[in-house]
C-alpha cells in the first residue's frame, strides 16, 4: 500500500502521472517534465515535498549531539539559520544527506530524505544511547505531523509575500518572507498556526520551502497556485525535480550517496568540518582528505545529440579497454537540450575537459567531463547594459 501526501487528491484532480517513489505515490509530472522544468528555470514551479522527513532534535545537549553525528559544524548556525550536512557511519559512509535548521535556542529541525526517515531515526536514537555524556537530548520523528511544498523559480520573489503574509514570529526576524536570506528559516502565522518557511531548494533557483502541519498544506498549495498563476507558476513533479537537481549536480540519496560512499568521494568536502572536533566518521574522512580516494564523482554531458545516459551505464576512457566507472544519475537536460549525468570514476580520470565514453546498449557515446554545476544561469545581456 503506497503512502499518500496531504496533496494526493489535488494531484489526481490535476491529472498527474503518479509513480511509486520510495513507498510514496507521488506526481511524476503534470503538463510534462520538460515544460515544468523550463517553467521553474524561467518563472516558477510548485512541488509537493511532503514525502520528505522532518526530525526534531532538542534539549540542552542537542548542539553537541548533532555535532557528533553530522559532518558540518552545527555550532556555526545562528537561530533561524540552516545548512546542508551529512550523517555518516564510523566508516565515513553516508547514512543520509540533509538540511539542519536551528529553529530556536537548542531546538533543531532536520529535513531528511523520504526513503531514509526510519534509518535516520534509528541511527540517531542508537547514537544517543551510546553518547549519554552530552546532556539531555530528545529526538522526535515528526514526519507524519508535517507536509511541505517547495516554491521555486526566479519569479517566486515577486509573489511569495502574498502566499505567506506578514512578519516572522520566531526564527529569523524579518518583516516578510522575501526578506529571508538564503538558508534562513523563520516561523510565520498561517490561520492561527506557526509554519516554517525556509529560503532554500533543490533546483538551483531562488525559492522557498514551506513546512507546515499536514492539515494546513492543502490550503498553502491552493493559495500559492492562485497567487502565482499570473507570474507563470505551475505545479511541477518529481520528474522536473530530478532534471533540475541533476543540472545543478545536487546529489540524490540512493544515486550519488549511499552506505558505500563517503562525502569526500562525492566531492562534498566543503560540508565536512574536519576542524570542529570529533564526530562519527571523522577518522576515515580525514584520512581520505589527505591520502585521496579510490573513486570520484564527476559531472558530464554528451558531446552531441544522442540517447540520454541512465543510472548504471558503464563509463570508459577513450582508448582504454577497462571500465573506469558507472553512471549514478543521467537524464536529458531540458536547459541544454543534451544528455547529462553524474557518475563515479577512478580519480586519475576525474579531470574536467577529459573525454568520456558511455556504453549505451553496446554503442559508445562520446561525452566530456564538465565542472559542476552542469548548468549555469546565463546573465541576460539586457540586464547589464
Amino acid at each position: 500500500m503506497l503512502k499518500h501526501t496531504p496533496l494526493y487528491e489535488r494531484h489526481v484532480r490535476l491529472s498527474a502521472q503518479l509513480v511509486d517513489f520510495g513507498g510514496w505515490e507521488m506526481p511524476l509530472r503534470y503538463r510534462g517534465i520538460i515544460d515544468e522544468h523550463l517553467a521553474v528555470r524561467r518563472a516558477a514551479g510548485l512541488f509537493d515535498i511532503s514525502h520528505m522527513g522532518e526530525l526534531i532534535v532538542k534539549g540542552p545537549g542537542a548542539e553537541s549531539f548533532l555535532n557528533r553525528v553530522l559532518t558540518n559544524n552545527v555550532a556555526k548556525l545562528a537561530e533561524g539559520q540552516g545548512q546542508y550536512t551529512l550523517m555518516c557511519n564510523p566508516e565515513g559512509w553516508v547514512i543520509d544527506d540533509l538540511y539542519v535548521y536551528r529553529l530556536k535556542g537548542n531546538e533543531y529541525l532536520l529535513v531528511v530524505n523520504a526513503v531514509r526517515v526510519e534509518a535516520d531515526t534509528e541511527w540517531l536514537v542508537q547514537q544517543l544511547a551510546e553518547q549519554p555524556d552530552l546532556g539531555a537530548v530528545w529526538v522526535e520523528n515528526a514526519s507524519e505531523v508535517f507536509g511541505a511544498v517547495a516554491l521555486q523559480g526566479p519569479a517566486v520573489a515577486a509573489f511569495a509575500d502574498e502566499v505567506v503574509t506578514g512578519k516572522s514570529v520566531a526564527g529569523t526576524d524579518v518583516p516578510k518572507v522575501t526578506a529571508l536570506q538564503k538558508n534562513r528559516v523563520g516561523q510565520f502565522m498561517w490561520s492561527g498556526t506557526a509554519i516554517h518557511v525556509a529560503r532554500t531548494g533543490y533546483t538551483g533557483e531562488d525559492g522557498f520551502e514551506i513546512i507546515a502541519p499536514a492539515p494546513l498544506i492543502g490550503g498553502i498549495w491552493d493559495r500559492a497556485l492562485e497567487v502565482g498563476k499570473s507570474f507563470g507558476l505551475e505545479p511541477a513533479g518529481l520528474g522536473a525535480r530530478d532534471t533540475l537537481r541533476t543540472e545543478m549536480c545536487y546529489p540524490l540519496y540512493g544515486h550519488e550517496l549511499d552506505e558505500s560512499t563517503t562525502p569526500i568521494e562525492a566531492g562534498l568536502q566543503r560540508f565536512v568540518a574536519l576542524d570542529k572536533g570529533e564526530f562519527v566518521g571523522r577518522a576515515r574522512l580525514a584520512e581520505q582528505a589527505v591520502q585521496g580516494v579510490s573513486k570520484k564523482l564527476v559531472a558530464f554531458r554528451l558531446s552531441d545529440k544522442g540517447p540520454p545516459p541512465r543510472p548504471g551505464y558503464a563509463l570508459f576512457a577513450p582508448g582504454e579497454p577497462d571500465q573506469i566507472g558507472q553512471v549514478t544519475s543521467g537524464t536529458y537536460s531540458p536547459s541544454l537540450g543534451l544528455g547529462i549525468g553524474m557518475g563515479y570514476v577512478t580519480p586519475k580520470h576525474a579531470v574536467a575537459g577529459a573525454r568520456l565514453e558511455i556504453d549505451v546498449r553496446g554503442r559508445r557515446l562520446e561525452s566530456v567531463i564538465v565542472p559542476k554545476p552542469i548548468y549555469r544561469k546565463q546573465v541576460d545581456p539586457k540586464m547589464i547594459s
Binding site: 517534465i33 520538460i34 520528474g239 532534471t243 544522442g306 540517447p307 540520454p308 536529458y332
Partner: protein, 126 residues
Amino acid sequence: MSNVPGDLKYSKSHEWVRLEGEIATVGITDHAQRELTSLVFVELPKVGRAISAGESCAVVESVKAASDVYCPISGEVTEVNAELANRPELVNTDPYGAGWFFRLRVKDPNEISGLLDASAYSALVG
C-alpha cells in the same frame, strides 16, 4: 481521448501500421506518445535489417526512461525517418504523419490480419 485513425492497423504494444501494396509504414500510436511524454531520442533500425513480427526494433527515450518499440509485422527495412534524429518531438506532435519510424517490405501481407483494427485498439486503450 487519444486519436485512433480508422485506416490503420494496430498492435497491442501500441505500434501502428499503414500497409500500401507490399510496403508497410510503422510508427507508435497517439496513446503511446502521450504515455511516454516528450521524446528526446529515437533509435531506429538499420536499412536492410530483416525483422520478425514481435521483435524489438527501435528504442524511444523520454526524459525519464527508455522503452522498446516492437515490430508489428515481419519484413525488411527499406527506409527510416532520418528526421527523427534531430526532431524526436515529431513523434509527439504528429505520431501518424511526420513522426513515422520506418518502412518495411513485408514478408507476408496476410500477417496484417492478425493485428487490431481501429475499433479493437480503441477498446484496448479505453
